[in-house]
Symmetry: C2
Subunit: 268 residues, 2 copies
Amino acid sequence: MHFEAAVGHRVSDLSALWQTPSSRAAEPTVQAGLDTQAMGMAPVPGELVTPTLPEGDWPLGRALAQLQGVYILAENAKGLVIVDMHAAHERIVYERLKAQWAAHTPDGTNGDVKDDSASTLPYLRSQPLLIPATFAATPLEVATTEAHATALQVLGLDITPFSGKTLAVRAVPTHLIQGDAVELARSVLAELSQHEANTVIQRAHSELLGTMACHGAVRANRRLTLEEMNALLRQMETTERSDQCNHGRPTWRQISMRELDTLFMRGR
Amino acid sequence: MHFEAAVGHRVSDLSALWQTPSSRAAEPTVQAGLDTQAMGMAPVPGELVTPTLPEGDWPLGRALAQLQGVYILAENAKGLVIVDMHAAHERIVYERLKAQWAAHTPDGTNGDVKDDSASTLPYLRSQPLLIPATFAATPLEVATTEAHATALQVLGLDITPFSGKTLAVRAVPTHLIQGDAVELARSVLAELSQHEANTVIQRAHSELLGTMACHGAVRANRRLTLEEMNALLRQMETTERSDQCNHGRPTWRQISMRELDTLFMRGR
């Protein structure tokens, strides 16, 4: 994340805090001490970077707790950090899927794959599920699975018929392992059933990867350990554009001690 | 605490949340489900009441963490609760000191005590310190300690000369055991030195107890366990007027999930 560009989320007055964040262009202020690149934390999409900063200097702070299964509360040098868990994870996952995808389409514009392609390498790194996730499928879903085997493979999904009316998800993209495998499979099958496989793959870069990220990211009410929360915060710090979700909403908010003190009418 | 009267701190619109709370009289709205008396949690000043409600129904919620040694973060059914640790504890302690004091002055207007009084019973229940707290005292402080022995006893303080220039605090009021014993002793000695003992004791009900509560309450940067934080929240729930500190500032704030969702532009 470029913290110097995320200043719209680090406001110093309360009214602005609760308003729609201004566009980045309108707030070019550089915030000293938060340039992650200068601190040797250049974004490395697609890879988990071990933090090199001491705990006290983590821009997004030390995770304290989960709130109602939706937000992560953290403490940094400035005060309280609130993170929208799902939105942040969705963005991280999306950026990683895009990076893996881009490695297979060097020109960045074409992901052309034939159903009879000799390439069996998935574009998205795949990880088998410990226990396959089965679901009652519609006839269309079963037919789509059979017709678009290569496309599924390219997308890092292993979906096979389990019985006549049941499909089994046996592997999902590594970065989506924390999400709901069935939701993910159904959303991809829905896309595949409506389009030619080629079209879907070509569109993947812009849209399908976003859909997959949404269904593959951690959902609300998933209980995270402090270690998992901290890992997410560190991933946010090293992921491009992680300060906004895929739909442009903020993924985290800073409430400074000064703002809290004002809220409590404390003169310090 | 009367939660139905604390509605000024449970605002439903953001702008009001960050403004100075309106006076209680201006907001007579009764908030359903938060009447602590109706829930069998009638305030019992001076006593720690074991909560009778299940955890999920605690009005001030379940403690999550401390923030920068100043605030307690808690989660209740509505969302995030932020508590000013010192201000809240100061108020609880103050109400308890007042209750103990009132038991010795049934008419509520007179705490007249002669320095040569036969009564040796402290008005404020006293507790010996495991290790006496010594401090380098001024000659005036030493003289005041000797001249006002009875007044100190009434106030639940045991302060004795340790050497010519050192005083030792050997006991403090039970409710102030978590505070700074030396700060407490010096603030009381400063009052005693400026007034006749009788005057101080008579004023105690309105002012001195407040001073003592301030210096006897937990200070910022004191690390609390989750158990201690939860105990403080439960004490707030059963203490009259604990929603405001002795100076009229709020001791806690509610930030609802709806408000957080608005902050994150989440439509739910």
